[in-house]
Amino acid sequence: MTTSTAEVGKRPASAGRRVRPTEGRKTPGWVRGLAWKLLRLVISIWAVLTLTFLMIQFIPGDPVRLALGPDAPASLVEERRQQLGLDQPLIVQYFDYWGRMLTGDFGDSLLTQQPVSLLVEARIGNTATIVALSLVATSVVAILGGLLVGIATHRGRRPTLRTGFTLATGIAAALPDFLVAVGLVFLFAVTFTIFPVAGAAGADSFVLPTLAITLGSAATMMRVVRSSTAVVLDQDYLLVARAKRLPATRVYLRHGLPNLLTAALTLGGLQLGTVVTGTIVVENVFAIPGLGTALVQALITRDYPVVQTIMVLLAGTVLILNLLIDVALGALDPRSKRQRS
């Protein structure tokens, strides 16, 4: 089956005279590709929202009773249920939930009775900072490190470096981020007071949290980049680039890097999701008032509206990140623009 379709794909190969003017077909394939990706994003976000909506239904106990406290008389509970529309059929509640979520009304915290949006507003900055810094750090470290090591160890060169790299990244990837975070605090903030130990006071208070997330994820991604480097370096067009006697930098950076990034992003892009959730654990260790600390607190105290909102936000971030990666892949690899259709 695949063989035949592959053959079909090669069809324009038959001869120069039968080449189709591909440029003539101005239906921009990548526009359709992007639309398709956006559709997928919308469906994914719909799924996440639906699941979080259902979460409340799955959970035993009455959220209103939790919210109003034990002293509230039954009549008040009933009244509040009506206010919140909880007495409505599930489907009505579902659409109502959608309406609220889309207008940014995430409901009130069961614990503080304050709008969840206030909590999010106060905390999203710190989380966004950590996530953004970690994403950048992970990408830069992983791509540069993986590329350099990949070149240096290509085809069995420098076996010691290769072994050391495998071992070091293996260990770094296997170390859970919470251990790394604690270790970093102990080392850099308590033993040598170089960085602040906690809080989100200044720019330097984000150094250790970023480091804690980056270490593991960069190690994992660096391995992916190294092996993609090895694959890319084995490609015929790199041999051709060398056969053209281009300088090494041009061979690697101009011919290697874009293709390498495609390969690395395809595989390593998934890793970026864990960077986003890494913030949950790390914020807790560094006591940074962010969405991660709020999520864990809310989980323990069963503050479901908060759990719901933060999960949707983090999941949405990951999904949008993936869309961006997809788009970047499309930009890097001209082939994908056509193949997507």
Partner: protein, 625 residues
């Protein structure tokens, strides 16, 4: 597989991983039996003691021995991890299998779902499931298991998809093999290896995931305790009694490392095996560094290319494998020379070595390697780069993969002139357009802006040739330039090469397994077998005077439009010798009808025949074929 595992575990990393795994398993089995008493013995007076001879990791808030507790916790930690992985496999593998087996539509729907869920952070999924189930060990296990299931689903789906597209599955289907057997015998058996590897590493991943949940207070709760829970207990005293946290932390990290190491080791075993398999068709793909060309005083020569005693070896476990064993070759200016030989004969490696493109770990030596009168081996790298860049052009076998898919054709052509002639971007583009037009590509200006995937195979090979013509090469090395092309396109490309030879005077060194292709293009043909040149003769003499039995068999075994359809084709019995088992004598002796003891004993030199052409044979044959 068993044998591979055995060899793997005999390596240092492998045995370390195996021993550690064994230790963990023993701990999980016997730990609670031996240390439970000590682990649960409460003595509040001894709360939070620092590490001592009695309490290696110190004590916790109830004065319980943290070391004993860490050991006892091994069982719960490992069991949870294994259970979570088990859930992931039980859920993921069948889903992946189904998605791959039943139609492209299901597959594509499945891929969308899985791609999203796999990108969805596992920790969030685990938290979500844990919230619904309720905080505790079962919630954590189920959460982590479900979070990992998409990974297994996708892996299974991709692996299965790649296996069922293989011909042996199609063959089994045409044999009417029942579905159950098809899945078990043909699909699962062949996707098992990577699944086993992933399952191994996934235990480590689950362990970390569940530990993280316990650490955050979303996993095991008292009186149950796993490593994550102990870690968060110990963390309370990290600054006063760090061992209470470092102890369980180390165990978590160690187990994580053991399982990832184990996966790597197993993967390494299978991977090596694969690369060994590939080693058979190394030739062109082989590359690498370390050139130590022994430069001997060059004999004056007016040849364009003058190679003497070229040797290329590839290091392997069984010593160096000699892919090329003393090849000498001369190409005169403007000459068209072909090298013919079957796979593994060393023809591609030879020209790659000549072009200075063989990389580590291959080792290249030659008595003489002169091009345009200059010894290449002693040139400074930068000078050599420029020299070869302007005078030598190469065309490779697969035009589909030879062009960089991420760069426009124009850029790939123009950069040659920019780098070597220092042309400006616009001048280089003008030249590129000229060259494209020269190789017969219409609308060159427009074509320059296109990407390789917008070109047909024949056009890509033309573009490759045009790229070689960006400077004024004196020699074009074309390595199987038409093998991947259809016969009508092959004709056009060969004609193009001939035209360039005629119009630009560039010499051509054409490598092919198809002797008739060479006969159509070249003036002289060099026949290679098992890393040596066995015959070197003018194309005109091929049918009249080929002397070496191998050359003659090669010609006779290929049917052409005049072959007698009622007679069997000539065949060559046996197989070419393996590189690690080369005979001392003539490598063709074991397959040769004319071989004598002399042939087995001694390698015949490349010597002039009656008509003056060269052949390496003790018993050269005569007469027309």
């Amino acid at each position: 597989m068993r044998r591979q595992l055995r060899t793997v575990f005999s390596t240092v990393t492998g045995s370390v991983a195996a021993v550690l795994l064994l230790l963990l398993v023993l701990l999980a089995i016997f730990g609670p039996i031996i240390w439970s008493g000590k682990a649960n013995a409460i003595d509040v007076a001894k709360a939070w003691q620092p590490p001592s001879g009695e309490h290696w990791f110190g004590t916790d808030e109830l004065g319980r021995d943290m070391f004993a507790r860490s050991l006892v916790a091994t069982r719960l930690s490992l069991l949870s991890a294994v259970a979570a992985s088990g859930i992931a496999i039980v859920v993921g593998v069948p889903v992946g299998l189904l998605a791959a087996m039943f139609g492209p539509r299901l597959t594509s729907a499945f891929q969308s779902v899985v791609n999203v869920s796999i990108a969805f952070p596992a920790l969030l999924t685990a938290m979500f499931v844990g919230t619904v189930i309720g905080i505790g060990v079962p919630g954590a296990i189920l959460g982590v298991g479900i979070a990992m299931a998409p990974m297994f689903a996708r892996l299974t789906q991709t692996l299965t998809a790649s296996v069922i597209s293989l011909d042996y599955v199609a063959a089994a289907r045409t044999m009417g093999v029942p579905l159950r057997r098809l899945v078990g015998r043909h699909v699962l058996a062949n996707v098992a290896e990577p699944l086993v590897i992933t399952a191994t590493t996934s235990v480590g991943t689950s362990l970390l995931g569940i530990s993280a949940l316990s650490f955050l207070g979303l996993g095991a709760r008292p009186p149950q305790y796993d490593w994550g829970g102990l870690l968060s207990t110990g963390l309370k005293a990290i600054y006063t009694s760090p061992m209470a946290a470092i102890g369980p932390g180390t165990l978590i990290a160690l187990s994580g490392i053991v399982f990832s190491l184990l996966g790597e080791v197993i993967a390494g075993a299978f991977g090596d095996n694969q690369s060994n398999r590939r080693f058979g068709r190394v030739a062109r793909a082989m590359a690498a560094a370390a050139r130590r060309l022994s430069a001997k005083p060059a004999s004056p020569s007016d040849a364009l290319l003058d190679v003497a005693n070229l040797r290329v070896g590839f290091p392997s476990e069984n010593g160096e494998l000699p892919a090329v064993r003393g090849v000498s070759l001369r190409v005169a200016a403007g000459e068209r020379v072909g090298i013919v030989g079957e796979s593994g004969s060393g023809k591609s490696v030879s020209v790659m070595a000549i072009a200075q493109l063989v990389e580590h770990p291959a080792v290249v030596t030659a008595d003489r390697l002169r091009f345009l009168g200059t010894e290449l081996s002693t040139m400074a790298p930068a000078a050599r780069r420029r020299f070869l860049g302007t005078n030598l052009a190469m065309v490779f076998q697969n035009p589909m993969s030879s062009l960089n898919p991420a760069m426009r054709i124009g850029t790939q052509l123009a950069e040659v002139a920019q780098v070597h002639s220092g042309l400006s971007a616009s001048d280089a583009r003008t030249r590129a357009a000229d060259r494209l037009a020269e190789v017969g590509i219409a609308d060159a200006g427009h074509r320059l802006r296109q990407y390789p995937h917008e070109f047909s195979g024949g056009m890509r090979q033309r573009a490759m040739i045009a790229m070689g013509l960006m400077e004024t090469p004196r020699l074009i090395i074309a390595d199987e330039p038409t093998t991947a092309l259809d016969v009508t396109v092959q004709r056009q490309i060969l004609d193009l090469l001939l035209a360039i030879n005629r119009d630009a005077g560039a010499a051509i060194l054409l490598i092919s397994h198809d002797i008739s292709v060479i006969a159509n293009v070249c003036e002289r043909v060099v026949v290679m077998y098992a890393g040596v040149v066995v015959e070197d003769l003018p194309v005109a003499s091929l049918l009249r005077a080929a002397a070496h039995p191998y050359t003659r068999a090669l010609i006779a075994s290929v049917p052409d439009m005049t072959t007698d359809r009622d007679a069997d084709l000539a065949t060559i019995p046996g197989r070419p010798p393996a590189l690690d088992d080369l005979p001392t004598g003539c490598p063709f002796a074991s397959r040769c009808a004319f071989a004598t003891d002399e042939c087995v004993a001694q390698m015949p030199p490349l010597a002039p025949m009656a008509d003056g052409h060269l052949a390496a044979c003790w018993h050269p044959q005569g007469g027309a074929l």
